[in-house]
């Protein structure tokens, strides 16, 4: 079965027992994990880069270079969402839970949905 590398924007040092960051572009690190045959094979922490206004493609580029295939966000703007689509990274949405582990478990179980265009941040919509 194909391995999937997933990234979760995280606060502080991240990790499966850590907390998610509400806005992916401002997160401290990305908690990355590889999923194969329904199992978590490996967990790694990827430091985010400095956030610059308009620098939406910086984290897109960072995650693409790290071989990430999927991202789980609580919120994201339209431009980075389109950027992730362009580089082939699927973006999933969970806007409720701050703890990383239950979100990871739901991803592995196939319970998370891909984000839709009307769930993005902006345009006076939130």
């Amino acid at each position: 079965m194909t391995m999937v590398r997933v990234a979760i924007p995280s606060e502080g040092n991240g990790g499966l027992e850590g907390k998610r960051a509400g806005h992916f572009g401002h997160c401290d690190v990305f908690t990355c994990f590889d999923v194969e045959d329904g199992q978590i094979k490996q967990v790694a922490i990827l430091a985010n880069k400095e956030h610059v206004q308009g620098g939406c493609m910086v984290p897109v580029n960072l995650l693409a270079e790290a071989g990430v295939n999927a991202l789980v966000v609580g919120g994201i703007g339209m431009r980075p969402l389109m950027g992730f689509k362009q580089v082939g990274i699927d973006v999933y949405h969970d806007g409720e839970r701050m703890d990383i582990r239950p979100v990871v478990e739901d991803f592995v179980a196939g319970k998370l949905q891909k984000i839709s265009d009307d769930q993005v941040c902006g345009g006076g919509g939130h």
Partner: protein, 130 residues
């Protein structure tokens, strides 16, 4: 650097353009409509789009919303008379580099180039140290 001006009144961009030309080798395209602007960026490499507040066929913000769907890699700046807060609210998620006044000056060209340089440096791959 390839720059696209989307405006029906490019004379107001004169000071900005002059400073950009002094700082960079500039390939400049000017179009008056949002539709023409979107055609210019579709599947093409454009380093910067500067869009006016109101175009012939749509608002600058409406153009920005379509721009990110047509080519999210393109950086943009937008002329707007909105307050900072209202502009932020209206353009949130669109990744606009900077809000420009209705007649941008040389200092705005400097600010734009500084932001582009910063983003370019952040896009460089991380060097792994052994």
């Amino acid at each position: 650097m390839k720059v696209l001006f989307v405006t029906k009144d490019s004379i107001r961009f004169f000071a900005l353009e002059a400073k950009l030309r002094r700082q960079q080798e500039l390939e400049l395209v000017v179009v008056a409509t949002g539709a023409a602007g979107l055609t210019q960026i579709k599947g093409k490499q454009v380093d910067l789009v500067i869009v006016d507040e109101q175009l012939v066929d749509m608002s600058g913000i409406a153009f920005g919303k379509q721009l990110v769907k047509v080519n999210p890699l393109v950086n943009s700046a937008m002329l707007s008379t909105l307050t900072d807060e209202a502009f932020h609210e209206a353009t949130e998620g669109l990744g606009v580099l900077i809000q420009l006044p209705s007649q941008p000056q040389e200092k705005h060209a400097d600010a734009l180039l500084a932001i582009l340089q910063k983003i370019s440096s952040l896009l460089q791959p991380v060097v792994q140290q052994s």
